[in-house]
Symmetry: C2
Subunit: 194 residues, 2 copies
DNA sequence: AGAATTAGGGACCGATTGGTACATTATCAC
DNA sequence: GTGATAATGTACCAATCGGTCCCTAATTCT
């Protein structure tokens, strides 16, 4: 009963996703978004409210479309297989020529003006939540196969998360996926059950 | 033969360092710098040229004052001792309450608008240079004590660098130094010669 | 006491930031 | 066709961005 949309919301989100992925939240301006989506400011604000809610919509999509491999990884039956699949997924995510390099969330969560501090805190919170899920899964599966000697499930989770962040930074720096693969291999040398 | 400076250049650099460290290059504005240094824009520009050259002066200071432990680390006689001392230094750097958390260079090198892309590229270049120095030292010292089996000096260097970046990200996320220490321990489990 | 030189204060610059107001346009139900 | 409704285009907003210009203030050398 009114004028219909002239754009596909999904395509717009996808375009916005690429931008935020490349430049982070603050590095992406409204005019960048307008150019990439071919939408006017009015349409963007009518459809998504403001820049921040658009960003969260994009993050949601990012997690659904690009971070889904985490579920499969967490379902693996031993710590090493969990870590392996998680890290392999990261390498693949950052390795393709099709996606922007680095991690969308990390590119925003690291630094910026005080304006976006709440956004960063929220992203950090999400990361910590995942770390806890990973820790719990290590705890559950370490009966099936042990962790490296002297490592608690908490240590193991922190170690893997640190490596994931490190790999994301490396990817952003142009390090090729083969190198990342070798790093992953190196990291898992002491993890039992090859 | 002219009017003398009313400020201490060193103190100004130190104040600017803290700012850039916390917020990265783009996240730090001229008015932030003016507030923190208690200098007017004129004085800043007269003394340092512009924001970017001030930033590089700050980076120089950062490396001299906070990254000096890398020299000692590289001088160690075995790969494990090199890695150990490097990573311990990172943990200590990011662990203190006195300094801003995270890494000054990383906080700038990760994301931002296209304006500061050259700066990011230069920072990435510097990181790659250090990676090569580390690789060369691993190559030289692996006769004294071997690397983990199946790891080349290049792999080892990439692994350690990745972990360093990861730890910096973790620190920025509020992870306490004790956790970082445990991560370092976990990372070095497979490295011979304890 | 100048003259020369440099530091500092402050107004000003165009460009860009995220965001809003409003008029116009297109579509639906009736 | 008409009225209601919602999408779009455009002009506009204050605030901020990095940076420049010019005038004044302070110092040393002659």
């Amino acid at each position: 009963m009114a004028r219909p949309r002239e754009f596909d919301e999904d395509e717009v989100l996808q375009a916005a996703l690429r931008l935020f992925w490349e430049k982070g939240y603050e590095g992406t301006s409204l005019s960048d978004l307008m150019d990439a989506t071919r939408l006017t400011k009015s349409s963007l604000y009518k459809a998504f409210g403001n820049k921040e809610t658009l960003f969260w919509r994009v993050v949601e999509r990012y997690q659904r479309d690009f971070l889904d491999f985490r579920h499969g990884a967490l379902a693996e039956p031993t710590p090493r297989r969990i870590a392996e699949r998680l890290l392999d997924g990261i390498v693949e995510l950052h390795g393709g020529r099709v996606n922007p390099v680095g991690c969308l969330e990390l590119n925003t969560a690291l630094a910026g003006s005080t304006d976006s501090e709440p956004i960063r805190q929220e992203l950090i919170r999400g990361r910590e939540l995942f770390r806890q899920r990973l820790r719990d899964r290590f705890e559950e599966t370490m009966a099936a196969a042990p962790l490296p000697s002297g490592m608690t499930s908490d240590d193991a989770a922190s170690f893997v998360i640190s490596l994931i962040q490190g790999l994301a930074v490396q990817a952003k720096g142009g390090v090729p996926p083969e190198t990342a693969r070798r790093v992953v291999h190196a990291a898992l040398l002491s993890w039992p059950e090859a």
